[in-house]
């Protein structure tokens, strides 16, 4: 427990020091939505129909921007190697790091989603499903994205490889997340896709940290 708290506080403190790093994905999210709004006709009803996918894809891309940074800075200055050699189980440390990432990136996106949904004229019926879906889905983005970042941490030109690895893994989250909003808009029950997202979340929280830790150790062998 101490390990988790220690890592969490360290991450949050580091983030406070370089605030822009963590504000950028939020600004990016707002910008994406803004661009879609600008590109459409004023008060275009079609925009509301696209709002679920715009918001989900925007959230996904915003989180993607921060993934490379997740482990690379620690890898380059040697902290990561220390964490791997430390007494505390690496799985726990990684889980804490991924949770911190979600707190800094995912959670603000969830909070931003509701006002942005209003900006895109998403009917009120769809908003609870959107916010709940993102609340369940953004941690998955952090965890699975973090796993991909761990796989590529030692690679010099991981640049385009990271999205190629992450996006196929996250496709089901996107399908069910946007699907939940559309179900709610269509008057159907959004519970089924949301339960699926919850199941994926539980699976990820329990299994991904171990895989990510194994991927990190791989970088040092």
């Amino acid at each position: 427990m101490n390990v988790i708290l220690a890592v969490l506080t360290r991450e949050l403190r580091l983030a406070l020091r370089s605030r822009m790093d963590w504000l950028l994905p939020l600004l990016f999210f707002v910008m994406v939505v803004m661009l879609f709004g600008l590109g459409a006709r004023p008060n275009d009803p079609v925009l509301a129909g696209f709002a679920p996918s715009i918001l989900w894809v925007g959230a996904l891309l915003s989180m993607l921007l921060t993934l490379d940074r997740l482990f690379r800075a620690d890898y380059e200055d040697g902290t990561l190697e220390q964490l791997c050699l430390a007494e505390a189980p690496l799985t726990l440390t990684v889980a804490a790091k991924l949770t911190a990432h979600w707190l800094l990136t995912g959670l603000p996106l969830v909070l931003l989603a509701a006002p942005l949904a209003v900006a895109l004229q998403l009917p009120a019926a769809g908003q609870p499903a959107l916010v709940l879906g993102l609340a369940l889905g953004t941690p998955v983005l952090s965890f699975v994205g973090g796993f991909a970042a761990a796989l590529t941490v030692a690679l010099p030109r991981a640049g385009l490889l990271l999205p190629l690895l992450v996006l196929p893994l996250l496709a089901p989250v996107l399908i069910f997340g946007a699907g939940a909003v559309r179900a709610a808009l269509g008057g159907l029950d959004a519970a089924a896709p949301l339960y699926f997202l919850a199941a994926v979340l539980v699976l990820c929280i329990t299994l991904v940290p171990w895989a990510a830790a194994a991927a990190l150790r791989n970088a040092f062998e």
């Binding site: 796993f147 196929p168 893994l169 089901p172 895989a211 194994a214 791989n218 062998e221």
Partner: protein, 249 residues
């Protein structure tokens, strides 16, 4: 303990290489025979379908390709799991041998799916669950291949790819069950239904032959690729040099 020595001996690169050399031709020729029977019958002798007329014949390419695309990914994930847990070099090389083969059949399934969809449903592509999941599967294969090529050390590359394959295997059941989860355009399961399959025997036999022939063919290809991987990884060792010496003579 002695009951496992055959397993360990098998997993040693030189003995597996020899086994593959003996097994591969059999797989190849039987596959060729089954595929020839399946496709020639399917194209010319199987009766016309009531609804789809002759267009249904694409089934003899599409269904084996789609089945293989999923099975090979699972095979790759199993190889990855074995490689991670037991650190078996053979499993690492198997993982890499399977990836391009699986990717090619996934692409074939997608292309034939589009060629079948256009005359039947009027559209080359729809963003329904099964088609989209198959496309995602293709990218998962590309991810494994891309990750492999990005590493310099083959052992580190294999371990990373093994992790990726095992984590990505979640996509496979989603593809399989998405037909049930969504009311999609894609035809429901007609062959693996409980009870009598709703396809006549004259159509079914060439289909079974095509599917089994494709699986045996994939086995043949993977064995050959696996042999190449072993040669490359063990270059300079005694058994490889001995092999090359024999081939030069």
């Amino acid at each position: 303990m002695s009951s496992w020595t055959w397993f360990h001996r098998l997993a040693s690169p030189p003995s597996f290489f020899r086994l593959a050399d003996r097994l591969a031709p059999w797989l190849g020729w039987i596959a060729l025979a089954l595929l020839a029977y399946g496709w020639i019958n399917g194209l010319f002798f199987a009766p016309e379908d009531y609804q789809q007329k002759d267009a249904y014949r694409i089934i003899y390419v599409h269904v084996p390709a789609a089945a293989l695309s999923l099975s090979l990914y699972v095979g790759m994930a199993v190889a990855g799991f074995v490689a991670l847990v037991w650190r078996m070099k053979l499993a690492e090389s198997a993982l890499i041998a399977i990836a391009p083969v699986g990717a090619s059949f996934t692409a074939l399934a997608l292309v034939t799916g589009m060629l079948w969809g256009k005359p039947m449903w009027g559209a080359y592509w729809v963003w329904d669950a099964r088609l989209t999941s198959e496309l995602v599967l293709l990218f998962l294969y590309f991810g494994v291949i891309g990750l492999w090529q990005a590493f310099e050390d083959p052992r580190a590359a294999a371990r990373a790819c093994a992790l990726l394959a095992v984590v990505g295997v979640i996509n496979v059941p989603i593809v399989k069950y998405s037909v049930d989860w969504w009311n999609s355009l894609h035809q429901g399961s007609t062959i693996l239904k409980m009870g009598k399959p709703s396809i006549t025997a004259a159509m079914a036999w060439p289909l079974f032959a095509s599917v089994i022939g494709s699986y045996l063919f994939a086995g043949y290809v993977i064995l050959r690729r696996l042999q190449n991987e072993l040669l490359q990884r063990e270059a300079g060792t005694a058994w490889v040099r001995e092999l090359m010496g024999k081939s030069r003579v």
